[in-house]
Symmetry: C2
Subunit: 364 residues, 2 copies
């Protein structure tokens, strides 16, 4: 029985998402190296192995360390943190470790401190403007590659870009436009260096592009992650349908305010995170309520949504005639705005088969 905020996982929806992306990657002849920062679970990772995935992406060295128990080819898609050199050396002894570099300084440090061979990709800013070198910055790119050649420990294997700016798109057409530009940026860079380094790859990916686009020419590897669960943000972008969303929060109702058509749930920022979106009516939304359906859920309830979150409270806006349907002690099923952040906070899943799945938990 659910008595407090609980993260539900619809196993069937999740496995369908996993299978569909693998089939799409195969159809386009690109390697799927899914990002595991969304689900952060060895057990869910097994479902990817079941369809044929053999290489993964993570967002930190400590997450790589967790997954290294069962995966032997891991890319840490984050500018490498040289302060964690001990973890890098430990991992590189055990698995094929691929890291991101974007400066000569990092190369020199690693040349002096690596004890085992590490592959590296140069992180390229393909339009997201968060991390990476601009593709026009050929001099710096060449300097990094040359510096790495003075050591036997660093192997240049290609370029990596993340088109995270697709998250700002509001429809499929703009995702495709963003994707085409971002893809061009990384593919043309790879082409430029290919004569000299024939084995290099272009690693690309984000869930909106990989879900919506159908042109991956020149790309060798994609790294979407969120698609394992999807969420309301992806739905708004056009990357999924509501019925593809594979996780939801179950939260008890603790107060009902009929005078203002609102309810309070036990479920706040420490459960959902405070990611939000604006819906078509420009309302700020922290989650949408779905209909209950056996051990899982059905359609969204129109005009019912999470209008605010504080540390442990959520405030639900309820359409007027509906509020009489609810009682204190009922649980609501709420689809999250950003499933990566919600899963990271909840640290475990209750599946539609009533089993518990644990996640990576660095505070343990």
């Amino acid at each position: 029985m659910i008595i407090k905020p609980t993260l539900l996982l619809d196993t069937q929806k999740c496995k369908t998402n996993i299978a569909k992306m693998y089939a799409k990657a195969s159809r386009h002849n690109v390697v799927l190296r899914p990002h595991f920062k969304t689900h952060q679970s060895l057990e869910i990772g097994q479902w990817f192995k079941d369809v044929g995935v053999s290489k993964i992406t993570v967002s930190s060295l400590e997450m790589a360390d967790y997954f290294a128990d069962e995966w032997n080819d891991i890319t840490v898609a984050f500018p490498i943190n040289i302060l964690e050199i001990d973890t890098i050396n430990k991992l590189a002894e055990k698995i094929t470790l691929n890291i991101l570099i974007e400066s000569k300084e990092t190369v020199s440090f690693l040349n002096n401190n690596l004890k085992n061979k590490v592959n590296f990709l140069i992180k390229i800013n393909i339009g997201n403007n968060r991390a990476g070198l601009l593709p026009s910055n050929i001099q710096q790119i060449e300097d990094i590659i040359k510096a790495s050649e003075t050591s036997d420990m660093l192997e240049f294997i290609g370029f990596l870009g993340h088109a995270g700016h697709t998250y700002k798109c509001k429809d499929k057409a703009s995702v495709i436009e963003t994707h085409n530009k971002a893809k061009h940026n990384i593919v043309s860079l790879k082409e430029k260096f290919k004569a000299q380094y024939p084995n290099i790859i272009a690693s690309y990916g984000d869930t909106p592009s990989c879900s919506i686009a159908e042109d991956f020419s020149g790309i060798d590897e994609i790294r979407p992650g969120n698609y394992v669960f999807y969420d309301l943000m992806q739905y708004q972008i056009g990357a999924c349908n509501i019925e593809d969303i594979a996780v939801a929060m179950a939260c008890p109702i603790v107060a009902i305010h009929k005078d203002i058509n609102e309810m309070v749930i036990y479920g706040g920022g420490i459960h959902f995170s405070k990611d939000q979106l604006k819906d078509a009516q420009l309302r700020t939304i922290y989650g949408r309520i779905a209909q209950k359906k056996d051990k899982t859920w059905g359609n969204l309830i129109p005009n019912m949504y999470v209008k605010g979150l504080s540390q442990e409270h959520g405030v639900i806006k309820v359409p007027e005639p509906k509020i009489d349907n609810y009682n204190i002690g009922d649980t609501l099923i709420i689809l999250p705005v950003h499933s990566c952040m919600t899963a990271n906070l909840m640290k475990s899943y209750l599946t539609s088969e009533d089993t518990n799945i644990k996640m990576f938990n660095p505070s343990n």
Copy 2:
């Protein structure tokens, strides 16, 4: 040595904050029942005992259960979740448990299911419009009290309000105006019921009001919590000075982009939370950088701030001439926007005396 995102705690600043609020409560002759949802730590709780605090507030029954090892008078300042009746009964056997009620339905359920005596306060909406009954809703308030009198297990002890809308204030004058109205709401309600229930209290509190206001007439108890650490949000409201902020994140620099005067740190939404504020120049700020100073930190560095956060990345805007001062592998000291949410994510503190302090961790 700090190698990854770490939450620093300046013990001296923290103890000063704890002592100052206790002295203020004593001066105003109100009981201080601090909210422990900010620090969530038995060890830091001891510092409150040291100055004379004997009663506390928490935000969930599971947090009450954690603190019940060392505290025997705990208020759960959240509309009681009847689904957790087993935890309520277990706690009520061990400590003086005070809960919040705002409906007759909850009273009936508790009348039928409580095994031990529990005190309750009626949650009043004193202007924050999140939870609670309006103070004008006398009929519903009377119904709740009467319903509780049919059982020996529920004891009505007063009214509780939270002026959380002070968080929307941008200066001290508006905090005082908000405080005066909110205080009037709860005090006048208590006065109305005092003839019939002479021992009831008015419990009030939020960090901005309790830090800034000097009129607590009619209030019996205050429950501020954030003041143990303060943060940039409290600074912007006018509730603290920068030098009162007792926690900061230490985050390694992983990339430096001199062309755009930005740096990338290891430290993202899973460390800081995504709480943000708009500064005087209307820039969106997720954290401010402070000067390093031995084991703690000094003033803010002007015009240097966290401009964006994703799951593990933070992007730092750096004033142009300063960027040459930084190297990959340096750590930055960053004051958080909302210390409650940051502490909740980080789950432990590294003190200025180089000790580790653990926190409540429900996922363990």
